[in-house]
């Protein structure tokens, strides 16, 4: 799995991992029934504490996105809601892509667009949960 955690980002590592797994499901990279590596192997692969992986897995299990089967691993359980959500995310991504292209054509720098998006999402409460 191409997960990548940033230890110096202002977000707990387990949340980063949860988001990336969720994102992989939403974009269809991971599908219903797929198996994620065991806690120990993913911890070794990402070189993070097993507690990080364990916490992410157990929270995702709590959300119903993962099913942990003892001894055999972590199964993605993406029901219909997730599938339709995947479609929504795909459509949204197309919209964002074309908006970004338009803005770039109009001469805005990538950095400026980034800031505009951020301001729109987080201002005036800059620390709203970034999920």
């Amino acid at each position: 799995m191409p997960f990548k955690l940033n230890p110096s980002a202002g977000q707990p590592l387990y949340l980063q991992l949860m988001q990336q797994i969720r994102h992989s499901v939403e974009t269809g990279v991971l599908r219903d029934g797929d198996v994620l590596p065991g806690i120990r192997s993913l911890a070794e692969e990402l070189v993070v504490s097993h507690n990080t992986v364990a916490k992410a897995y157990s929270e995702l299990e709590h959300e119903g996105l993962l099913e942990l089967r003892h001894g055999s691993g972590a199964y993605i359980s993406a029901g219909r809601t997730v599938e339709s959500r995947a479609d929504r995310v795909r459509r949204a991504r197309d919209k964002v892509r074309s908006l970004v292209e338009t803005l770039l054509d109009q001469g805005l720098a990538a950095e400026e667009i980034h800031r505009l998006f951020e301001a729109e999402l987080f201002y005036p409460a800059p620390l709203e949960k970034r999920r």
């Binding site: 230890p7 110096s8 980002a9 202002g10 977000q11 707990p12 590592l13 387990y14 949340l15 806690i39 120990r40 911890a43 070794e44 070189v47 993070v48 504490s49 097993h50 507690n51 990080t52 005036p124 409460a125 800059p126 620390l127 709203e128």
Partner: protein, 299 residues
């Protein structure tokens, strides 16, 4: 045996003449975690570890490791059967070969796991016939790790394990530590290398001039610690206006006031709006920044 913390010290102190190498240290390390003992060179890390392992006696204060009292000779011997230690200088018998070193160490421990020994010998590409003194620093670290992990230690203590290793060897070291932790060994390692600590540690205990200056889970640092910068159109208000609990390091710099919030940054920002800043910036605080600030504060 059950105990709330695998390591717990009360007012642990070590003085060398007038110098307080370790100063009233209250350290608590939880089980099943990777805890980093972070500090500058000479901050008191090695001295603390040596006291925990009964290699030097505290001037005052007490401590327990795995529930055993560190000053009690009998209990200290007993605890060392359950703790593995990788020293900074990786003191090994230079004249022995790898094979002899392994055989020699194995003879002391009833819980030796030959299958782990064999696996690590292969994985680390340690040639059994090689003399210890001919090993590179990285290889010597691997041998020390092999000797430590071939037992089933409840607690693995390492003093600056990555010192002098190249990036590839560091990566392998971190992987080994992560794997050992996943198998149920509690890890306590000292380091001043922020980048590696940040990756694998669940919890950080920061020591400076022999005192504990920070003790928190890294995910809490990531989640809660924020640097807040207020910019004003004119002269900023006096810093007393922003002081509050959970706010540290308030500084004025021209028309800006910066501070560090250790919790509830949202609420802090909301409260600060009444000062009518023209802009408010909120950034996460990395371990590097937190470390440098603590060291600066204490200087």
């Amino acid at each position: 045996m059950s105990y709330p913390f695998v390591i717990e010290t009360q007012q642990l102190t070590k003085a060398y003449g007038k110098v307080q190498a370790v100063n009233a240290l209250n350290l608590r390390v939880a089980a099943n975690q990777i805890t980093c003992f972070l500090g500058r060179n000479g901050a008191g890390k090695s001295t603390t570890i040596k006291m925990l392992l009964g290699m030097t006696h505290p001037t005052s204060g007490t401590g327990t490791v795995l529930g055993r009292t560190i000053q009690d000779a009998q209990q200290s011997r007993d605890l060392r059967r359950h703790v593995a230690y990788v020293a900074e200088d990786k003191q090994l018998y230079a004249y022995m070969t790898v094979e002899e070193m392994v055989r020699f160490t194995r003879s002391f421990y009833a819980d030796w796991r030959p299958e782990v020994e064999q696996r690590l010998l292969k994985q680390y590409e340690l040639s059994p016939r090689r003399r210890v003194k001919a090993l590179s620093k990285g290889m010597r670290t691997k041998l020390a790790l092999l000797l430590a992990l071939s037992r089933r230690p409840e607690l693995l203590i390492l003093d600056e394990p990555s010192e002098g290793l190249d990036p590839v060897a560091i990566e392998e070291l971190l992987q080994t530590l992560v794997a050992a932790a996943a198998e149920g060994t509690t890890i306590f390692f000292s380091s001043h290398q922020i980048a590696e600590v940040e990756r694998i540690a669940d919890h950080v205990c920061m020591i400076n001039h022999g005192r504990l200056v920070m003790d928190l889970p890294l995910d809490r640092l990531r989640q809660d610690y924020r640097r807040i910068t207020l910019s004003f159109a004119a002269e900023p208000p006096p810093t007393a206006e922003v002081q509050a609990e959970g706010i540290e390091q308030v500084r004025t710099n021209g028309r800006q006031i910066t501070m560090m919030a250790s919790r509830d940054a949202d609420a802090v920002v909301e409260r600060l709006q009444r000062l009518r800043p023209i802009s408010v910036e909120v950034e996460p605080v990395g371990l590097r920044e937190a470390f440098l600030e603590k060291v600066k504060e204490e200087a």
